[in-house]
């Protein structure tokens, strides 16, 4: 099973990016093989609007079953939901920590976006 985590850097020791739409990268982690690859999200930093939507579309194309992030707004959330992807929120400091918490079933998926619509 593959999951995507919004990432500030390219290694497991790096921080989880608290924002979904404007995250600079995603780490796509394969839980069965314990391997990962990094996918760039930087085209979104230049998107005039709808960065969350675009990020969600990109993630949907990656074939992941879940996303771990800090915060996700309603539009991005609805795209992920339509694609059958579950969103987990975390305050974990590092990607390593977030994955560990996920494996232990300790992350919550509230089933709804956790920040209001924003014009960013």
């Amino acid at each position: 099973m593959k999951i995507a985590i919004t990432a500030y850097g390219e290694s497991l020791a790096d921080a989880v990016d608290s924002r979904f739409g404007r995250a600079s990268k995603f780490m796509v982690y394969d839980l069965d093989k314990d391997t990962f690859e990094i996918v760039n999200n930087s085209q979104n930093l230049n998107a005039p609007q709808g960065a969350g939507i675009q990020a969600a579309q990109n993630v949907a194309d990656l074939g992941v079953e879940a996303v771990i992030t800090g915060h996700c707004g309603p539009k991005a959330f609805s795209v992920l939901k339509a694609a059958g992807i579950i969103v987990y929120n975390t305050e974990a400091k590092t990607i390593q920590e977030a994955i560990q918490l996920f494996k232990e079933g300790k992350l919550t998926n509230t089933g709804s976006p956790d920040v209001d619509a924003h014009w960013v």
């Binding site: 998107a47 005039p48 609007q49 709808g50 960065a51 939507i53 675009q54 969600a56 579309q57 949907a60 539009k75 609805s78 795209v79 339509a82 694609a83 619509a117 014009w119």
Partner: protein, 286 residues
Amino acid sequence: MKIAVASGKGGTGKTTIAVALALAADEPVQLLDCDVEEPNCHIFLSFNTEEEADVEVLKPVIDETKCINCGRCAEICQFNAIVNLKIKTLVFPELCHSCGGCSLVCPTKAITEEKYRVGILQKANSIDLEFAMGKLDIGQAMAVPVIKAVKALADNNKIVIFDAPPGTSCPFIQTVSDTDFVILITEPTPFGRHDLSLAVDTIRKLGIPFAVIINRVTAKENLITEYCRQQNIDIFLQISEDRAVAEAYSRGENLLQAKPQLKTVLQDVIIRIKNILDPGKTQGGC
């Protein structure tokens, strides 16, 4: 004749002077409040608005029975308002700019464009003047469609005065475009001068004739007179700083109520504009 009253900097007296100009005119006049985010002209006029109409734009709606999820609509959309997932296509109307591209490219004609409200138009008439304003709905981000709707009401047989929004970006440009003359209202402060120069740069790019009125003046020679001299810009009028006027304004009294002597002065401004636009037909006046 279409005259826009604009400023660059907010709070310089744009609305105050647009209203006074409309009330001073001694021929048929129409006042259109294009500051659709924070319209204020109606506060200084003594009638209640009479008619209302929704301002609507077109947004795409997808017929799922016809949609084959080919993704062409999402591809052409520059604004991330349509997302194509293999099994479903989603629309986010808040991001849509109503360009029509998606419905044009859809191979199965699954997209129709439907009306979507973004604001409201309010109109009123009195003996003195015809008035209309636009109001952007709270939470809607794009002012331009509402401004377009207000401007569409312009009656070419009258003197039309547009109260423009502050700033120098698209809402301001939308308001002053296609007008015959722009009056820039400013104040003799560093902020006033700076924002005036931004507005001047923009209006020069648009190629519309313009002049300046300086409000809240304490000294005849000031930052603005200096700037206008350097830039070869006409100053139509300097209005002195007057606490009594500020207090009257705060109570919703218009400028002519506070300073009746400005009536003939403002009528002269209109004549002066006519002379600039049509020098062959010199009008009477100062």
